[in-house]
Symmetry: C2
Subunit: 121 residues, 2 copies
Amino acid sequence: MNSEAINFKDKLSLINEHWSPKVITEMNDYQFKLVKFEGDFIWHDHPETDETFIVIEGDLRIDFRDSLVHLSTGEMYVIPKGVEHKPFAENEVQILLIVPKGIKNTGHEGGKRTAENDVWI
Amino acid sequence: MNSEAINFKDKLSLINEHWSPKVITEMNDYQFKLVKFEGDFIWHDHPETDETFIVIEGDLRIDFRDSLVHLSTGEMYVIPKGVEHKPFAENEVQILLIVPKGIKNTGHEGGKRTAENDVWI
């Protein structure tokens, strides 16, 4: 059994691109993914699952069609399944995502912003 | 829809006891729980699920029957299902737990250290 803790800052130092979540560990059929956002993403939703955002460092805004939420360092938010959302970060923000295995970052929208899944760091 | 982020420090300030996890939000059939540990817990396991520990502030040791892991602020560890473990904190440590709904803190051991489930803050 691996008896090493996972250090978020150490793992984040290995990420050099934006909008490309990297898996750091799994819990049952869920994955924990670190990602750096900067700028605007696309509108999308995940019809089959909730999606958890935990901000490790920085500021994040998540727009919904009828509201928005601001998250800062040490804050979290769970987006209910099926709710359209669009993340935005004026400056780089470092995030821990929790979603079931196999869920795409762009949901069913697809397109060029879709990141490869199951890339571990 | 609730559009307020959950701030870990704000929620932790509402917890005045040790070893008593409080629910802060849910993702699908999982719960996020904040808890403060100090001292020694009991040996137990969760035969039906992995269990995730994220250290918000402080230092935590988790003993296994044949090894151990040290976690500090900004670190996480996923305990595989069925693996016996015993958390220990020399000084108070503040932790975010992620487990499916209905899982007891003492697993199937039970006893007086078993905390009430589904207590929200």
